[in-house]
Symmetry: C2
Subunit: 450 residues, 2 copies
């Protein structure tokens, strides 16, 4: 019998690969080593457990370990940590319950994910200071809120985890402050969208501190304050959400190449530079469909898709992992904000484009049909080629329309082409000119005048 398909990490990429490989080739032995106890869980749902929307943490689990083992015939071993890869011997070294053993592999998938970045703040080990890196941590925050009933919370970082946690904690009756080092929140969403979200956060009672560096946390036993450059702010609960970094130590130690983003470099099939070793998910790069360059977009769909493609490839049908447009959407209280492609002008210039952008506001339904709200659309294109580069949307409804632009990015459509899309119209659903088309019309006019 051939050596098995061994997978390191039992989350989105790993479990998608395991399931798909077994489905396509039931004779293939598939072993997954997961160092924790949770597998295949919806990390993006964790803030909604804290908020109370998702009552049981277990509800976030898509497929249970038992289902993987019994129904999908995957040899899933939780509590097993892979500590080394031997590329020559084609083995991994596994620690479990104090034991250590070598496991040979025919093919290896590294799906080690990403970890929450933890800046070296003073007092980061105080009780009541959390990141949101794992199911256990989500559970711990939820319990802390229930048991300690904090009056104040500080969120460090104004990215989407920070904003989702702000919503969750306000819902739980906590006074929330957000501390963001940069001049604005939601960096990848562009200034126009970020400003709208920031105004809305303030309207919801969130105390938003931009360009504010946190020094650390202090308190007796438990956290009581966030310490700033000048002064401090009360915080009986702290959530640090300043981003994630790919977990690449295992790969790096085995001499597997990292890419320019610091994540594991892969080809279009998810292969690393090591023979029969793949990488996927938050630890790996993916190709940005706009720039054509390697990118690190640690999001769920990218991980699921790459895992699934690699599972198919390992089962004998070579399948590209697909690129990323960096499409993302976030709920911020009553608003949605979405983005895709290159929104930031500076990043677009770095990628060799000459960006031109517009921001328009258009209703999500005709003026005469009740319930229309304004959707702000920022659309970015290249002046020379007129190619669409990216977009950002913000509004109370309709932000899933970002998918139209994401599709346009994959197809490398120009603004005149985007403007000519035959999108769906009926009064209960859209104005005649969908807001995306209105933005394209305005940007097209600006390109013509340029």
């Amino acid at each position: 019998m051939d050596d098995p398909f061994v997978i390191v990490g039992g989350d989105a990429a790993g479990m998608s690969a395991a399931s798909k490989a077994k489905r396509e080739d039931p004779d293939l032995e598939v072993i997954v080593f997961e160092r924790g106890e949770w597998v295949s869980y919806a990390a993006c749902g964790m803030p909604y457990h804290v908020k109370g929307t998702v009552e049981e943490l277990e509800d976030l689990v898509a497929v249970t370990p038992e289902e993987f083992r019994e129904q999908r015939d995957v040899d899933l071993r939780t509590g097993h940590e892979v500590v080394a890869i031997d590329r020559e011997a084609k083995t991994v070294t596994v620690d479990a319950d104090g034991d250590r053993f070598e496991q040979p592999y025919g093919t290896l998938l590294i799906g080690t994910g990403a970890r929450a970045i933890e800046p070296p703040f003073d007092g980061v080990d105080l009780e009541g200071v959390f990141t949101l890196r794992s199911m256990d941590e989500a559970d711990a925050i939820e319990s802390y809120v229930t048991e300690r009933d904090p009056e104040t919370a500080a969120i460090v970082g104004g990215g989407y985890v920070g904003i989702e946690m702000a919503e969750a904690l306000v819902e739980r009756g906590v006074d929330v402050s957000i501390f963001e080092m940069l001049p604005r929140t939601l960096q990848p969403f562009g200034e126009e969208t970020a400003r709208t979200v920031e105004d809305h956060l303030r309207d919801q009672g969130v105390d938003l501190h931009l360009e504010t560096a946190v020094q650390g946390f202090s308190g007796d036993d438990r956290v009581e304050r966030v310490d700033l450059e000048d002064g401090s702010s009360p915080a009986e609960l702290v959530v640090v959400g300043v981003g994630v970094a790919p977990s690449v130590e295992l790969a790096e130690a085995a001499g597997i190449e990292l890419g320019p983003t610091g994540a594991i470099a892969t080809d279009e099939y998810g292969r690393t530079n090591a023979e029969n070793v793949f990488a996927a998910g938050d630890c790996a790069e993916a190709t940005n469909v706009v720039t054509g360059d390697p990118d690190h977009v640690p999001l769920a769909l990218t991980a699921n898709r790459a895992g699934r493609a690699i599972g198919t490839t390992v089962a004998g049908d070579p399948t590209p992992t697909g690129g990323t447009a960096g499409t993302a959407i976030v709920k911020a209280f009553d608003l949605g904000a979405a983005r895709t492609g290159l929104v930031d002008s500076e990043r677009a210039r770095e990628a060799g484009f000459a960006p031109l952008s517009v921001t328009i506001e258009a209703p999500t339904r005709p003026h005469y049909y009740p319930g229309a709200t304004d959707l702000a659309v920022t659309l970015v294109a290249d002046r020379e080629s007129e190619r669409v580069l990216g977009a950002s949307l913000v509004g109370e409804e309709g932000t899933k329309r970002i998918d139209t632009v994401a599709t346009a990015l994959h197809a490398e459509l120009t603004v005149p082409e985007l403007q000519n899309l035959d999108l769906a119209y009926a009064p209960p659903f859209s104005p005649v000119w969908d807001p995306i088309l209105t933005a394209a019309k305005v940007l097209n006019g600006k390109l013509a005048d340029d």
Copy 2:
């Protein structure tokens, strides 16, 4: 001074062209002849006036005649009917208030629209029998419901006008029957979507009669019954909505070529075969982006876009009118139904494709996030090229996702490409795999097995 840009018909295509031409070339004289009194109104909103959602009929007017005249400097002449075109002399003959005059044109746009098809039913002239072809008729239906308070209504035709009117009349407390000659409603939406809508119509109390030919209407003075092959059905109000036919008499009499669909043939700029004569909107053909053939899709966006493009062209900047994917969306009580491209297998085969389709049901949000409903996605592709040919969606929410497939059709994406789109995911908005992606995955598997 040059001869003016003359436009026949003051609705979507005509007024879009007039406005855009004046904006781009303020020196251009633009004359619009409209035989009625209403211009630039949202015909698609008319059922919602009958329903009561849109209180004032005037609310459906996007731009008033005064605004066109005063703010946009368009010489708009309502109550003026163009009765002939002289291509040699480059003039049109206009009737107004019993007077007749000749108007020279430099460029002519025919935007005569479409008229409701009125089968030669017995009793079609009885009081209480309506079509929904004009604002006046919408007003008349609304008044009739208010004044006569009918207990029963019959709708002839199960297309989207019929379904929207059913919803409107049920809301007004009327018992509604729909009579459809064919074995199903919503022909262009495909069988799966139509069946779901039909079940829902019945759940809402609509008495749905498929494969039922109406013979005529009878009653003393006012309509009281719909007469069928065997027997009759009470109906104190009748709305005939069996489709529209392009109004091409004026063009045809001038020797302007019609296309295979019976609408006016145009090139990619909306030009007819007559010198300096354009046609746009419900009277004209547009190119189907899937088949590449001329198509007749009498919908608002196609009309608005073609009018706008022709206005730009006439002002000196040649601009293609853009193709149509036949994208449409309709509300049926609590459901939305949407379609784009080629959904019907027979039509796909006629166009030279070898269609393969799947229908899947997927939730609009993850299972753990409240409020998810099922969206049924029918996706059709060509077996050989794997190109996406069309789709139909039905569900309580999320049907605007059809835009993703419409965009894919314009870009001629294949199913593997559709499957690899980076669409937006966060629990409040979508599952990790958007229902469109799930359908693409399943269809891709079926193509591989084929």
